[in-house]
């Protein structure tokens, strides 16, 4: 299963990076969202995969019965999903507000912080 997941992860990363290299802010955001999934899948796969047995201890035992899925990457990813969602929401609102202020969704037009043809810093003392 791992090789196939590695291939899937490669496709996820390629698509998200391709979208992020665009100049349109909405496409970049879609890329960021997919990037989060790609990263989560990477963490998940590197903890090795087991089919269908969740890491839950049966009611009458004190340790899991036999092999279960690896709980550690799951715990890492679970919080990562929520945090990446929060940041996705933040980026979305940021993009939206930028669009409202600057009237463009093209990153080439967003030159407030780094304007074109910026003057030299003062040469005196």
């Amino acid at each position: 299963m791992e090789p196939i997941l590695a291939l899937t992860v490669a496709i996820f990363f390629s698509v998200s990076i391709y979208l992020m290299l665009s100049k349109h802010i909405i496409r970049i955001l879609l890329g960021v969202s997919i990037f989060g999934n790609a990263v989560n899948l990477t963490i998940f796969t590197s903890g090795r995969v087991v089919r269908e047995i969740p890491p839950i201890i049966p009611l009458d035992l004190s340790v899991p019965d036999g092999i279960t899925a690896n709980p550690l990457p799951q715990a890492l990813i679970l919080t990562a999903i929520v945090i990446s969602f929060s940041f996705f929401a933040f980026l979305l609102v940021l993009a939206f507000r930028t669009y409202q202020e600057l009237g463009t969704d093209d990153t080439d037009g967003m030159r407030v912080a780094e304007p074109k043809g910026e003057e030299l810093p003062p040469l005196g003392y």
Binding site: P54, P55, I77, F88, E101
Partner: protein
């Protein structure tokens, strides 16, 4: 040394810094009279160090200190011999007078407290520098003097000239300090010594080390910048932008002498080589002549003195490097004499400026009657500077000529250089001391009258010292000159010269100097005009070069910034991802760590279906032409991932992913009703190809990395620990949840804080209203 005295010396070293902290409140309480209290700090230092005179005159050295960083063998340690003791006494003694003088000079200045603070800080740094034993301490104090002098020179920071001078001094001397640090490290490398006392006992080790040349050049880089040797002299005259007490202190006895101190200190272990005895006299001699000639050109009293200081430093470097014992004695005598007369003359110049409102020598005349005490101090100091008996300067001058002589072509040349330099300094010294006070009275911006005691005490005491030390030369030689000269020479020498002239070559040369000096004094106006036209003809100087250097640095940085940070997000992203791909692929290929070709894996039909759905979703996101398709496709790939989690034994992840994807789709839909997805990807084909290649390369690199990771043996220690203890210790059967809320609870606490902060930030972003007039003046108009 006596252990009980150790803490007193330590106290003496930190006391100036404590005084610096106490100065502002004291000034607030007592006004300018706080000077009397603050002067107790250097006075205590003087008293404390004077207590060592007896021991050190007996030929011993005093050392002590505390371990500082044991593991790096860094000590807070000091080493007092004749050389450091003389410097310590000059610094604290003149420091006392300067603190008092500052109280008078800056009487009503609003930032007097700050000034005292800076000057005491500087005093502490200088004091630490000359008594430091460990190399690291030497370097720290060395740079601390640069920083403190930056603050002092730029004290009047509202004037651009002061800011420029401060920055210039900091850059030049700070860079020299870095060279010194490198030099000290090389010395440690070559000899294994990491303190001066250890180095001084290493004998010939450094001279014979293959790294000698490197060490020498680096150390000279430090010494020559600090001591303003040509062509690095330009910062010193510019530093006259500082208030006069600063000039009198930094440029007579302390800051600029630090370089000379370093050379004298290292003379026993680095001197006596052909290189040393060539480089030092050449640079020193050039500085002497250039300094005096430039001094001739000036009309500002302080600038005249500043350039003669440059010249005197040149003379000292020349004498230190000449190599004969008597030359070293002469250097020692001249150093002490110079500290006294130059300090006095700077203070005189300051008093004249303070009382008349001008420092221009052509606009001053005949104020001697109004300021008799200052006048007397000026004349006494000038007599010492000119080398007339019975003043300490005379002893120095005799010894200089005795030390140089006419033994060879080389020494004849050096003697002539010294003669010319001394004659020029004679002329300028008397010009400063006599011109303003004698001759026809010229009306000045303020009506001249004698200043308060704070203003004339310093110059008078220093000028009288120049006289008394010479008259009682036996005592001053026994306690000061002989121990210091012995320390510099590295062997026991004895200084015995007295004020009674004895006929010989030195006396003849002295007389020649005086004769030539008088002629130059009378012709000083013509000399000034000649120098002015010469300098105008040359045009360029290192001072202007500094400006060009600074401007060039700013331009080059701006140009580099414009290339590296060009404001194009797509370029930043492309570069970042290219580097990401390279950082992953190059080591993997270079070290043969590429994963093996995996064997064919059997997949269940439903797993394959989910993966196909995910890939279709991804493709649809890329090709989406309207917002609805994009949102739905994004949802599809997200739900596919959630299903994948479900099938691979992660129900918690699956639920979370489902909920998050749902919410993502909802908020995307909310925002996208306002923000349009442009119907097509506007990138030109070339750009698309490049982006596609970069993206594929990155994707492939990350995929290969993951494949390689899954091919190494898995270390299940952590997972097994959690599985084994989840129910037993933490009473939970859902191991994932137990890890989140119990085993790794602190991480989770941090993470929910992040979630909350993100929520707050979004709220803030939404609430900021668009189009406030302050932000958009253009649209308003």
């Amino acid at each position: 040394m006596a252990a009980d005295g150790q803490w007193l010396t330590f106290l003496a070293l930190i006391l100036p810094f404590l005084g610096a902290a106490a100065a502002p409140p004291l000034v607030r309480a007592f006004g300018h009279n706080a000077a009397w209290i603050l002067a107790l700090v250097p006075a205590f230092l003087f008293y404390h160090f004077a207590g060592f005179l007896g021991i050190i005159a007996g030929g011993q050295a005093v050392s002590g200190g505390y371990r500082w960083i044991e593991s790096l063998s860094v000590d807070f340690s000091w080493y007092l011999d004749g050389l450091s003791l003389t410097f310590a006494l000059l610094i604290s003694g003149i420091g006392t007078l300067i603190v008092l003088y500052s109280g008078g000079y800056l009487k009503d200045h609003p930032h007097l407290g700050r000034f005292f603070s800076f000057i005491l800080m500087f005093m502490g740094a200088m004091q630490g520098l000359v008594v430091a034993d460990s190399f690291l301490m030497l370097f720290v104090f060395w740079e601390l003097t640069s920083i403190a002098s930056f603050l002092l020179i730029g004290f009047d920071h509202r004037r651009e000239a002061a800011r420029r001078a401060a920055l210039q001094a900091l850059i030049v001397t700070g860079a020299g300090g870095l060279a010194l640090l490198a030099g000290l490290l090389v010395i440690t490398l070559a000899t294994g010594a990491n303190s001066l006392s250890a180095l001084l006992q290493s004998g010939d080790a450094l001279r014979q080390a293959p790294l000698y040349l490197t060490a020498l050049l680096l150390v000279l880089g430090g010494a020559f910048t600090k001591s303003a040797q040509f062509p690095l002299h330009f910062w010193l005259p510019n530093a006259m932008e500082a208030p006069t007490p600063v000039s009198a202190y930094l440029h007579s006895a302390t800051m600029v002498k630090a370089g000379v101190y370093l050379l004298m200190r290292l003379n026993p272990v680095m001197g006596d080589t052909v290189l040393w005895e060539t480089i030092l006299p050449i640079f020193g001699g050039t500085t002497l002549i250039v300094g005096t000639l430039l001094a001739l050109r000036q009309t500002d009293l302080k600038l005249m003195l500043a350039y003669t200081t440059v010249a005197s430093l040149g003379l000292l470097v020349m004498l230190t490097g000449f190599g004969s014992e008597i030359a070293i004695e002469a250097a020692v005598l001249y150093l002490v004499a110079h500290s006294m007369f130059k300090g006095a003359l700077f203070m005189v110049a300051g008093s004249v400026d303070h009382e008349t409102g001008t420092r221009d020598i052509t606009k001053l005349g005949g104020i001697g009657r109004a300021m008799p005490i200052t006048f007397a101090a000026a004349v006494l100091a000038a007599l010492s500077m000119g080398g007339l008996p019975p003043f300490f300067g005379f002893l120095a001058k005799e010894e200089i000529y005795a030390g140089l002589g006419f033994g060879s072509n080389w020494s004849t040349l050096v003697t002539l250089v010294a003669l010319l330099g001394n004659a020029l300094m004679f002329a300028i010294g008397f010009a400063v001391a006599l011109k303003p006070f004698t001759g026809r009275f010229i009306a000045t911006p303020k009506t001249a009258h004698e200043g308060p005691v704070l203003l004339w005490l310093g110059p008078v005491v220093l000028a009288l010292c120049g006289l008394l030390t010479a008259i009682f030369s036996e005592i001053s030689h026994r306690f000061i000159s002989t121990p210091m000269a012995s320390a510099v020479a590295g062997e026991s020498v004895s200084v015995s010269i007295s004020v009674i002239p004895h006929v010989g070559l030195p006396l003849l040369l002295s007389l020649a100097t005086i004769g030539l000096g008088i002629i130059l004094y009378l012709a000083i106006d013509r000399g000034r005009a000649a120098m002015a036209s010469l300098l105008a003809a040359i045009g360029w100087g290192p001072d202007r070069g500094f400006d060009q250097f600074v401007r060039g640095a700013v331009r080059i940085s701006a140009a580099i910034t414009a290339i590296v940070q060009n404001g194009r997000l797509d370029i930043y992203m492309t570069v970042t991802f290219i580097f990401l791909a390279a950082a992953l692929l190059v080591p993997m290929i270079g070290f043969g760590e590429l994963p093996e070709m995996p064997a064919f894996v059997a997949m269940h039909f439903y797993e394959a279906t989910i993966l196909v759905i995910a890939i279709i979703g991804l493709a649809a996101v890329v090709y989406a032409r309207d917002r609805l398709t994009a949102i739905v496709s994004l949802g599809i790939q997200g739900f596919a991932v959630a299903l994948l989690f479900m099938l691979l034994g992660a129900p918690d992840l699956s639920f979370t992913q489902f909920m998050v994807e749902t919410l993502s789709v909802v908020i995307l839909a909310l925002v996208m009703t306002r923000l349009r997805l442009s119907p097509a990807d506007h990138r030109p084909l070339g750009q698309k190809t490049l982006d596609f290649s970069v993206a594929s390369l990155c994707g492939a690199a990350l995929g290969l990395l993951l494949l390689r990771i899954t091919q190494v043996p898995f270390d299940p220690v952590l997972s097994e620990f959690f599985a084994a203890n989840s129910r037993v210790i933490a009473h939970g059967r859902n191991i994932v949840n137990v890890i989140i809320v119990d085993f790794r609870g602190l991480d989770t606490l941090g993470e929910i804080a992040v979630v909350m902060i993100a929520g707050l930030a979004i709220l803030a972003l939404v609430r900021i209203r668009a189009g406030r007039p302050a932000d958009k003046p253009v649209k308003e108009a």
